[in-house]
Amino acid sequence: MSAALNMEPAAPLVKLRDLTVRFVSRDSSVSAVNGVDLDLAAGESLCILGESGSGKSVTLRALMKLLPKKAVVEGGIEVAGNNVQAMNESQLQDFRGSTVAMIFQEPMTALDPVFTIGTQIAETVCRHEGISRSAGMARALELLELVQIPSAKRRLAAYPHELSGGLRQRAMIAVALACRPKLLLADEPTTALDATVQIQVLLLLRELQEKLGMGVIFVTHDLGVAGEIADRVAVMYAGRVVEEGPVRAVMKRPLHPYPQGLLGATVHAGLRGQRLTTIPGAPPSLENLPPGCAFAPRCSLAEPACTVAVPEARRVGADRMARCIKV
């Protein structure tokens, strides 16, 4: 595989503008994403950090139009120059897998249990590039070697259940990379893995991203994963990006009280014997968001002005943003 990508700094690979996603049913309306703006340059690695219910996975799925029909999606979604919102089903089939691909948390449910790994990879290549089955299998072998699966040739004929968790995750990465996508979306790709395997897969993804020059959007709740892999970090809370910036700056000196609290509440070496600082309370219900800043009810710095209107995105320096009136 050659690093074949002409960097075009002008047009971003991903451009999200005021994305909102609501799940409406007869008796409730859940506002999962409430106005997200995000840009991703080609070859860049962005981590969306957030707790459960922060809207991070929904944002990711919206980029591939994978949300169920009942979801009300509004706003601009542009990926590699395509208006994703306007695509019809056949356009989406060409788009998914070739321009943008996704890897999931649980490889056992994402891979098809009744087909061999080789067949599943070859299928993707044949579908998008129109090559023969045998050429597809040759590509599948190449890909298994790329994701560093030992004795790749033998594993082509293996079914998903015959592989260990780490190998399954590698096989899923191989399926995703089959058509050299410009954008790779990864939804908690290492959460289900053991510690010694998680670091292997993280390092593999970082290596592949550099080698293939892909843009990558990672969704994770683990600050350590962001620290290992991201160029930039976007922290989400209650469906909004509350802070965004380069990984070093955000991890070392977060501006917004929520990531500040999150860093303080994360257990790490050297805290033994001390009381952990916590964020009191729990995230708000997405059916009934408070007016103003959604974090205000849990924020120790909150004042009346915080609950009047949703804080605007404030730019700090050239490359940082925070939604807090105190910034």
């Binding site: 780490g166 053991d194 600050l223 257990v267 916590t278």
Partner: protein, 352 residues
């Protein structure tokens, strides 16, 4: 009901007395085994573990999936019957009867309680939480009124206002609140030992810190002893006094928390510690400490079970299972490199 030390509700409203004194381990486990038969093979989930749980301490158990840590928890709780080995609770055999002596199972389970990872699956969805908490006291003969009183007291102790929460059902609570209910339920019989199996793994970070603080407070308030099982090395370091590292059904290293984290002697412990993602983007890892996945516990490698992934593996590792070498201060490591004269070229090269 012929149990000494437990007579109806009066005894069950207090913590049972300490018998063997502070120096005697609360739980003494010797060569404990659990094998699960599967078609044409046997899964050696726990294959001879030996350890003590001291009074008033928190023992952390870490390891990857399939290492036997959850099976160990279920054995401690006697949700599973061991296939071999002995368990002594404060000096008495677990599962005895009035003839053989020892502590009977019902009494043992009163003194040893458990909190599970999945806070929703471990509560009865059809019972208001006060009834879930009061259930065990009712089984042990407490009146309904007193059981409710106990439940309210415990709800308050875990930070849930009883008048607001007592009549709620599990689905009306958040994950963190449900885990608090599970902790309250585990304390309902005033146990001496609480086995916590991944109690914070399913919680969000901001809630995890709240629950960890609560566990520390309750331990002090009720004089509890914890066995804390987790795959999160940072959480185990934070909460434990001593740590035990398991790999493929065996204990590879155990010792005081500082010894394990600052001077790990077993190559597996070192790799596990080095696998933690770095929170500092300037200190990113470049090489994974280990390659491959843990082997299948159905057919573990001969000799040292870690040898297939160990960079220091030699012939002796293939032929002889390493005994636990004493590195001083209660720090034990089952590695040929840690034992002088084992025949490994680096033998004795590692010291604590």
């Amino acid at each position: 009901m012929c149990l000494a030390g437990w007579q109806g509700m009066t005894a069950s409203t207090t913590t049972p007395p300490d018998r063997g004194g502070p120096a005697q381990p609360l739980l003494t486990i010797r060569d404990l085994k659990k094998h699960f038969p599967i078609p044409r093979a046997v899964v050696r989930a726990v294959d001879g573990v030996t350890f003590n749980v001291l009074k008033g301490e928190t023992l952390g158990i870490v390891g990857e999936s399939g290492c036997g840590k959850s099976t160990t928890a279920r054995l401690l709780m006697r949700l599973l019957d061991p296939d071999g080995g002995t368990m002594l609770f404060d000096g008495e055999t677990v599962g005895g009867n009035s003839n053989s002596g020892g502590v009977a199972m019902k009494e043992y389970r009163r003194q040893v309680q458990m909190v599970f990872q999945d806070s929703y699956a471990s509560l009865n969805p059809r019972l208001p939480i006060e009834d879930s908490i009061g259930f065990a006291p009712r089984v042990h003969g407490i009146s309904a009124g007193q059981a409710r009183e106990r439940a309210h007291e415990l709800l308050a102790a875990v930070g849930l206002a009883p008048n607001q929460f007592a009549r709620r059902y599990p689905h009306e609570l958040s994950g963190g609140q449900r885990q608090r209910v599970n902790i309250a339920r585990a304390l309902a019989l005033y146990p001496r030992l609480v086995v916590l199996d991944e109690p914070v793994s399913a919680l969000d970070k901001s809630v995890e810190a709240q629950v960890l603080n609560l566990l520390m407070d309750l331990k002090e308030k009720y004089g509890l002893t914890y066995v804390f099982i987790s795959h999160d090395l940072n959480v185990v370091q934070y909460i434990s006094d001593r740590v035990m590292v398991m790999y493929l059904g065996l204990v590879v290293e155990q010792g005081p928390v500082d010894a394990i984290y600052d001077r790990p002697a077993h190559p597996y412990t070192r790799a596990l510690l080095a696998s933690r993602p770095s929170m500092d983007p300037d200190k990113r890892r470049t090489e994974p400490p280990l390659t491959g996945d843990p082997p299948n516990p159905v057919n573990p490698p001969s000799g040292c079970r870690f040898r297939t992934r160990c960079p220091f593996s030699e012939t002796v590792c293939e032929t002889t299972p390493p005994p636990a070498a004493d590195l001083g201060g209660g720090h034990l490591a089952a590695c040929h490199m840690a034992a002088a004269g084992s025949g490994h070229s680096k033998a004795g090269g590692i010291s604590a």
